[in-house]
């Protein structure tokens, strides 16, 4: 009846791409910002609409496939299924919020800034929707390259070093991924890059171990997992905050998504072999990152290390292979994106007004900006995963899965939750309460746009925390397919 709804995935790619290309040619800063906002809102509208149109009873909701490189066995295949929907929804929500928050005159050559941001969005959408390994790889890189330019042109003082490290680090990971994809391609029966063909490849144990390693390194760097995380705090600190928001809210989810869509279903024997060891390393990394976060005096680095700990928990949940933990991890991917957005917004507002990112140099903002403080406290509670917030649901389910897997691992991972309360509440205490310091004397509370964006975020935090059911309805079939691959072996 609504034949066009199979085009939703395509629209989610073309709209940001078109918006990005158009923005390059807009001279005025105001117009560039307006066009970026319009295109990102259009993308969001398409995403929202697509949620109401399911094309079949099966797990696939919308799917398209164009002929792309028939001689190579690659087609431009995109899919919107349960897992993808959650992540595309997050991507579609984050970009308009970022554009609304950034004042038009903040960055020189604003048109290029917005253009590169929209190209990043296109890349991210493509990564999440690709059903063809070559397309996946193409978008994987397409999402990385604009970020390189964004961070190295508009970043902080040490941006060149931080961005270079980030780029080389993730690029090395990508090359491992490419080798893995090529090997799998050569193993398919009919020479195809499609995900289905990859699923049907029969590999020996040893081949699976090697393939697992190649794919896992790429995804682990992207997430990042301990001990491959050292690019992240520097990149988050040095990149311009809108880029950091995109990096931490959406981009690191590429790695987690790669686990769920590619790694876990493709190499079940290897996953079964290694998952206990990997979970142990991840959980040690979580506690480690939380401990390091306690020491940080820079708000941005604190958020970065907190993010490493939270991402680790989701990855550990995925590797338990328990349905409850996988569902929790997918929900948590969405929730973490929303929560960390809120934390970055607050960090950015404080930095633009006072020029300070040192926690010890701030104090008493609550007296000057009560509204901002209210939003921050809710976001901070979500970061600690208190009940009624979105993170509680996801992390509770992941812990449930971890406990089923090995109780002692769950107990040890619980330490990182306790530490997250320590560093988050410490940060609130020092930055927002206590004596009003001189730098905060003339602090202005949030304006209407900022209040609107923060209200949306708070609404999402509470909505998902109180009524997460729509998300589970969306994702459980797709997640079930991943778990089913492990039932037969």
């Amino acid at each position: 009846m609504f034949a066009a709804f199979d085009n939703f995935p395509a629209l989610l790619i073309w709209l940001p791409l078109a918006g990005g290309l158009i923005s390059f040619f807009i001279k005025s800063e105001k117009a560039a910002r307006a066009s970026a906002i319009v295109f990102s809102l259009l993308t969001m509208a398409v995403m929202m609409t697509s949620l109401f149109f399911s094309s079949s009873e099966s797990f696939v909701y919308n799917q398209v496939s164009y002929v792309w490189l028939p001689n190579l066995g690659s087609s431009f295949g995109l899919i919107l299924d349960g897992l993808t929907r959650v992540l595309c929804l997050l991507t579609a929500l984050v970009f308009p919020m970022v554009f609304l928050l950034v004042p038009g005159n903040r960055y020189p050559n604003a048109n290029r800034f917005y253009a590169l941001m929209l190209l990043t969005q296109c890349g991210l959408m493509g990564v999440f929707m690709a059903t063809d390994a070559l397309v996946f790889y193409l978008f994987w890189e397409l999402a990385l390259i604009p970020v390189y330019f964004l961070a190295s042109i508009w970043g902080g003082e040490k941006r060149i070093k931080a961005t270079f490290k980030f780029f080389i680090y993730t690029f090395v990971g990508s090359l491992f991924l490419l080798i893995g994809i090529l090997y799998m391609y050569l193993k398919t029966s009919n020479g195809s890059f499609s995900l289905v063909a990859f699923y049907n490849v029969k590999l020996s144990d040893v081949e699976q171990y090697w393939m697992f390693l190649l794919f896992f390194i790429a995804f682990a760097i992207k997430m990042p997992l301990f001990p491959l995380h050292t690019w992240q705090p520097e990149a988050y600190e040095q990149a311009p905050t809108p880029v950091t928001m995109v990096l931490s809210a959406v981009m690191v989810k590429m790695g987690l998504f790669g686990l769920l869509r590619w790694l876990l279903p493709l190499f079940p024997l290897a996953v079964k072999q290694f998952n206990t060891a990997i979970i142990v390393v991840i959980v040690v990394g979580m506690v480690y990152a939380s401990l390091v976060a306690i020491y940080q005096d820079n708000i941005k680095k604190l958020i970065a290390y907190s993010s490493i700990a939270h991402i680790g928990l989701m990855a550990a949940g995925a590797f338990t292979l328990k349905a409850v933990a996988l569902n929790g991890a997918v929900l948590q991917m969405f929730s973490h994106g929303i929560n960390i957005m809120a934390l970055w917004i607050v960090a950015d507002l404080i930095e633009t007004q006072t020029g300070i990112t040192k926690i010890s140099a701030l104090g008493g903002i609550a007296k000057k900006a009560p509204k901002l403080t209210m939003f921050l406290v809710i976001a901070a509670f979500a970061n600690i995963a208190l009940p009624l917030t979105n993170a509680f649901v996801g992390e509770f389910m992941i812990f449930n899965g971890l406990y089923q897997f090995k109780p002692w691992i769950a107990a040890f991972a619980g330490l990182s939750i306790i530490f997250s309360a320590v560093y988050t509440l410490n940060m609130i205490k020092h930055v927002f309460y206590g004596e009003v310091v001189a730098a905060v004397e003339g602090y202005l509370d949030i304006n209407k746009t900022q209040a609107m964006v923060l209200t949306v975020i708070t609404g999402l935090i509470l909505f998902v925390g109180i009524y997460p059911d729509p998300f589970f309805k969306m994702m459980y079939e797709t997640v079930g397919l991943i778990v089913n691959r492990y039932v037969t072996i």
Binding site: K165, H229, T230, L291, I294, Y295
Partner: protein, 78 residues
């Protein structure tokens, strides 16, 4: 009570936290990562010396390589 708590829990955690951050994260892990980069740059600088532009030296290196290759083949039967 507060003092005991401070002494057995808070201070050790702060100490571990600062140790992990300053020594393990900054020096050890990041040092390793940067070390890989520095290693590549160092070996690139060394290898550059071989590119002298003198054909004679290239031929010499080629001959040495060929001899090494033959010796290698002689001892390692494939």
């Amino acid at each position: 009570m507060d003092e005991i708590y401070e002494a057995i829990i808070v201070r050790p955690i702060n100490w571990i936290s600062s140790f992990l951050s300053r020594v393990v994260d900054n020096r050890l892990i990041d040092g390793l990562v940067n070390g890989v980069g520095k290693g590549v740059q160092f070996s690139a600088r060394q290898l550059r010396l071989l590119q002298s532009g003198q054909v004679g030296s290239y031929i010499l290196i080629m001959m040495i390589a060929i001899i090494l290759f033959f010796i290698f083949q002689l001892f390692w039967k494939l």
